[in-house]
Point group: C2
Chain length 371, copies 2
């Protein structure tokens, strides 16, 4: 599974894995793929620095990537504000609605003194920039930006450090904007993907983006969790595939609770929803009583990014801490339907590459007319 891009990066497989867990990223790198660590869950830059130091020692010398989130546009009225100022913009009625959801499901408070752990503070540009300073102190081979084109100075700085810059796109128009911003790699993120996603499915989006940014390399993302799906993504003209959901149920993943892993293993492809409940922008995730409450036309509806993420941070931490099943969710794509066992990353990669070879061989027989 070798393309111009994988050759350029010096990796065995054109198989890119996005993960919030350093152990998954490292294992993927050691297995011949390319691990991309998601930085959005990091509260402070020091913690990120420690994890990148660890990655540097644990990829077996293989290169890795880092994904930061810098939304291109801020919600009206929040431009230039810091985290505390933004908190003050959140309407009291929305805070009451959060309390009502939690009360309806008897969600206890956090243990004394404990604060909300995971906050989606990465949506705030100042947080993202502190993370970038850490990134530039490490041998990051690819710097990805999940929302909007990265700022020009970031692209310049990344290139000066010899890093490739990647950006996620949900439409050909977004992809062209990325190309104009100097991005080196575009990740075409289809409708079926976990996390932030548009409405164009991977089957249609990938070749559109390939044509829109030619000759830049494109990675196909969304709906890819098997060797056949990798073959399909590459058949669409991509120079690699970008998988996120599949790693959530690997042994190396550190989900908030075994209950969440169990929910992922049990879920079918129809059990996700594209909802603004988590961040304020449409993101695919497990459908739960939480997403239902925010998608309910009778409710107040989600706030725009970054307000929603700040509004719900503590509530989500409480839900996770107490494993409140009906509300417990996570971003995940439609391929959750085939995540049905907990396995080591290496075993997953072995199966992906073997089934990829098999799918390509079958396709060759179909094309040759020898079936």
């Amino acid at each position: 599974m070798r393309t111009e891009l994988s050759t350029r990066l010096g990796i065995e497989y054109a198989l890119f894995g996005f993960t919030p867990f350093p152990a998954v990223a490292a294992a993927l790198c050691r297995a011949g793929g390319f691990g991309v660590l998601g930085a959005v869950r990091y509260r402070d830059a020091g913690e990120l620095a420690r994890d990148l130091d660890w990655l540097d020692r644990n990829t077996g010398g293989a290169p890795y990537g880092l994904d930061v989130v810098m939304p291109a546009r801020r919600a009206p009225g929040t431009e230039g504000l810091g985290e505390d100022d933004v908190e003050a913009v959140i309407p009291a009625s929305h805070r009451r609605y959060v309390d009502e959801i939690l009360a309806a499901h008897d969600v206890p408070a956090l243990p004394g003194g404990q604060r909300a752990g995971w906050r989606v503070t990465g949506w705030l540009e100042d947080v993202a920039r502190a993370q970038l300073d850490v990134a530039f102190d490490h041998p990051v081979a690819l710097l990805a930006n999940a929302l909007g084109p990265p700022p020009a100075d970031v692209v310049t700085r990344a290139h000066a450090h010899g890093m490739l810059v990647a950006a996620l796109a949900g439409s050909a128009r977004h992809a062209r904007r990325h190309a104009e911003a100097g991005v080196d790699v575009v990740v075409a993120q289809g409708y079926e993907a976990g996390g932030h996603t548009g409405e164009i499915a991977t089957m249609v989006l990938t070749p559109e983006v390939v044509r829109a940014v030619d000759p830049l390399p494109v990675l196909a993302a969304g709906g890819i969790g098997s060797g056949e799906q990798i073959a399909a993504g590459l058949a669409l003209g991509a120079q690699g595939v970008w998988l996120g959901s599949l790693w959530l149920t690997t042994e190396e993943a550190a989900l908030s609770s075994p209950a969440l892993t169990a929910k992922l293993l049990a879920a079918g492809s129809g059990d996700t929803v594209r909802s603004r409940a988590l961040t304020g922008k449409p993101a695919r995730q497990l459908r739960t009583a939480w997403t239902d409450a925010w998608d309910d036309p009778a409710g107040p509806g989600p706030l725009p990014m970054p307000l929603q993420g700040l509004l719900v941070a503590e509530a989500l931490t409480r839900i996770q801490h107490h494993e409140v099943l009906p509300l417990l969710g996570t971003p995940v794509g439609q391929i959750v339907g085939r995540m049905d066992a907990v396995r080591p990353v290496r075993a997953v990669v072995d199966e992906l590459t073997r089934d990829f070879e098999r799918a390509v061989a079958r396709l060759g027989r179909i094309a040759g007319g020898t079936t």
Copy 2:
């Protein structure tokens, strides 16, 4: 592009084309594919018989298929009713809403004496059964059913006539129900497809359905309009691909107006919407002022099938007759974005098969690691 299924049908390419136009079906058959005529637009069985007679003389001896629509479930309160009785169930407030939409866009009445032409009466089982009687008088090689599993007696009768029976499925659960009903071929219709569709994208749905009904052959549908997309669909384990939208802008298609063709040529992949505006069930179509009106939370919303189809039949005929641009639409999938020229079916097939071979060759190089 040969699979077990294409060999069984005796066709050159495992390329299935759904179309409401006999000339498109015939041209596709002559070009080595398999044309499937959609029967839903036929008002009476005699007209369908005439078109099948014509097809028999114009496929160059190649086999063809017929697609009828027999919804498995009827709207509550309409079971066992004929067309006129069902009309009486439609609320007056919905009829007023139709009049308001037409008035807002100054849509004139039909010329004196002219009745609504295209009525979606095929949604009614008695109409579908009259069409089936015609089908069984013709050498139809494959009988497809677009909604729900076909009734047991239809499957038995089709098999007695040597016909294969196909059914469309938007989920693995639907596909299993089809297999239990004795269907021979399942068409996995992804979210991005034109017409009635579910929420699971082709990339995820196809392999799920392949596994669910193994060893039955599966056709991949939705998002397929290029040779690369055909390669992707087949890589997912399908034994063929099912294309519908792409033929709408062929020379052989007989759309209601040049204005509609122009709209299709201009539309991008983001210009469709999955809406109940047309039939009462979610169907992907061009987004128009018509779909906006029915998807408007302030409006009454669409009625269930078959009421919505009957409610809107005359209005749609008026819109088409007078080419009222903002309201003018048609079922079409997200691949509308790449329909940018009117060409003969043969030229489209030539390009599809050439680009398919090219995509497979590229994939072979990626798998062989020689890129």
